[in-house]
Symmetry: C2
Subunit: 426 residues, 2 copies
């Protein structure tokens, strides 16, 4: 396709999505759930042929410059296929939130006013690598009564096309328009530029990928973007606190996995807890090879334990999202300094306090301006499944509309409904 | 000020607002309510001097090209001052929503997860003419725990400065930072360009004004915009319906006032109700001098009643927001055609059905994709006060974040709170 053809093609997808979205918004819960269960069955029945298509992507990847972890994420193993099939069934079993009317109250004029939860309409999703995201996005779209246009990475195009065909088959077999979930069939980059700039057809864009991609999309999009920038998360070890709990949580938050956005990058320690806490956590980190970038006071306490892994932190370290076995460590006077540091340096993703002080816990929850704030729990819990949303389309670092893990609710809007008996405005 | 100075000045306002917003988010409800009551008292105590400052704006307006209705909107009469003072007191008496935690539920991991309502942070508001909007915006900002930067029109600059001083006095006397509400002191247009492009200091922009202004701001803003574009609202007269109710509601919706965004611009009539309804409403409209732009069928029924006021509608008429004694009228086969017409031509603001059919009412509520959908009530009710919000900062025609009348809730965000006992992610 040339650029002109891509533009025309994307306009066609957009128009079809807009038309399909009306049918999806109208469809009852039973029909949408049937499509999800049909999709699960189709995924299982076609597991072998999905793997054949996935082989094409893997073969291309083998001769490309793709890193080993990226190639790994490309794989559609039988286990992954079973997991996404189960995910569809779990979504089908969840309560339906579309059409629900809340807060219906009579007003002095006599009218009754409430709010109805409705789909957003059409969302466009831009993502990379893992083909199972195609099914996660498609199934959330079906459950939430939206239509969507999915643009996966070129490295997964054959797997995604195969998955997209099964989704459309499931929709059609359930009496829903196949165009309710459309996979962009071209890997031309121009398609992304078109997708994010057609407000008449697409209501919101959800990008998943590196910070550069998301910043570029946010800058150029002509519609709202549910965006997830970086995850510079913190644990603050307060005074007083259960020191052993602090060690366990800080360890889990940093080392259980290094790559997730909700792993911590910074550790703040109340000066009065430092002597008891730092040598213990330093021993844990040292055993796992975690580099510690410290301010002078923390360095003095940690150096005797792990001299080889201690470095001086620079100002830039407080901002950094390492996603690696590296952590910044700083001593603070107490709660006020911890909150000020987090609100200044963190990416407003997820931050936790370890404390025994009730007032400190309350203030931390109220005053830390992050999407998820935690008391005595590991920031690694910031996740749609762990929060009980059933599924997530992403994690938002915005304050607007959806914040933190985004599930079905984030893909909906509330419209006002007014029930009257001929009342007039005076 | 030159452009460079304006940029520096706005950066200073932004930084001060950001700092003040932390104190406002921390402030308890009693303190914020005290500021609102103090402001009400100050407004009353300074009614005379406010009018003196208002005279300066009115004197300038008298020698300018401002239209008579615009000049009228500029006036700060004793009655208007009393009304805004009462508005502050009413807000102070309303329940506080900041800090409220909802849906706290234990998850399988043991953590308890809920959502806390928190201020958005800093909003920037851009508006014209009516100086009482300064107090409405300031008081909503105080109640919702935000900080704000207000940019009124140059025609009201003296009145706005005087009101801004009273707001800052009320804040300071209540122990809150005066910078929580800042009025832009320069009328330089560059200030708007700066205000909408400092995401580090301003979280959201709320423009109030003409469609051109709002489109320009939405296009150039680097932060989200709560926007209100046009109000092309409809009444659909169904079959079966109470014809007399339909006449009363259509009359109220069109003629009670012509200028509000929630006045209707289009009337759709089910063919089976047309013979009974159209002559009656045509007589009402004719008596009030309302021009009727009709399709051929409607024209045939109305011409005998009001020959002088009937015109042929063009395709453009179905899109038009007249804000004047003009209405478009079209016959439709029934509910399906009415919904399709509204979803295609309306501005997704407010649309109503007049019906006796329960299934039709349900389908209209569900399928019409507008911010407010009504059954047997006048679209003129689409208003924060009539909906029970206590106050409104505007009406949003967006689907994202806030939709329809925007009150305190639209100025807040929900963050996730997690309460644990040392739980780890496995």
């Amino acid at each position: 396709m040339n650029a002109l053809n891509v533009a025309e093609y994307m306009q066609t997808l957009g128009l079809q999505a807009r038309q399909a979205s009306a049918a999806m918004a109208r469809a009852d819960a039973a029909t949408r759930n049937k499509a999800l269960r049909t999709l699960a069955a189709l995924l299982r029945a076609n597991a072998a042929s999905l793997q054949t298509d996935n082989e094409k992507d893997l073969a291309r990847a083998a001769t490309s410059s793709l890193s080993a972890p990226m190639v790994d994420r490309l794989k559609l193993t039988p286990k992954i296929i079973e997991t996404v099939a189960q995910g569809c069934e779990q979504l089908a079993a969840m309560p339906d939130i579309i059409g629900e009317i809340s807060g219906l109250q009579q007003q002095p004029s006599g009218i009754r006013v409430g709010r109805m939860r409705v789909p957003l309409g059409v969302f466009g999703m831009i993502y990379e690598s893992r083909p199972n995201v195609t099914i996660e996005a498609a199934s959330l779209s079906i459950k939430s009564g939206n239509a969507c246009i999915l643009r996966g990475g070129s490295e997964a195009i054959d797997s995604n096309k195969a998955l997209g065909r099964l989704v459309q088959q499931a929709l059609a077999e359930s009496g829903l328009p196949a165009e309710a979930v459309q996979l962009v069939q071209t890997t031309d980059r121009e398609a992304v530029g078109q997708l994010i700039a057609m407000p008449q057809h697409v209501d919101v864009i959800i990008p998943r990928g590196g910070k550069g991609l998301i910043e570029r999309i946010s800058r150029d999009a002509k519609v709202p973007v549910i965006k997830h920038l970086d995850g510079n998360c913190h644990v603050y070890v307060d005074d007083p606190c259960d020191i052993d709990m602090a060690v366990r949580v800080a360890d889990n938050a940093k080392t259980q996995k290094y790559s997730p956005c909700n792993a911590i990058e910074g550790l703040l320690v109340a000066r009065a807890s430092a002597q008891a806490f730092l040598p213990k956590i330093a021993a844990v980190f040292a055993a796992k090879g975690v580099e510690m970038r410290c301010d002078a006071e923390a360095k003095a306490l940690i150096s005797p334990i792990a001299p080889a892994l201690v470095k001086d932190a620079t100002e830039q370290d407080w901002f950094e999202e390492y996603l690696a076995p590296v952590i910044s460590i700083k001593l603070v006077a107490g709660l006020d300094e911890a909150i000020a540091h987090i609100n200044h340096y963190s990416s407003h993703h997820t931050d936790a306090i370890i404390t025994r002080d009730h007032m400190h816990a309350q203030r931390f929850l109220r005053e830390v301006d992050s999407a998820s704030v935690m008391v005595n729990a590991s920031p690694r819990f910031a996740d749609g499944f762990e929060f009980g949303l059933g599924a997530e389309i992403g994690i938002s670092t915005d304050k607007f509309h959806a914040r933190g893990p985004v599930g079905l609710e984030g893909l909906t809007s509330l419209k006002w409904v007014v029930l009257g008996n001929g009342e007039l405005r005076s």
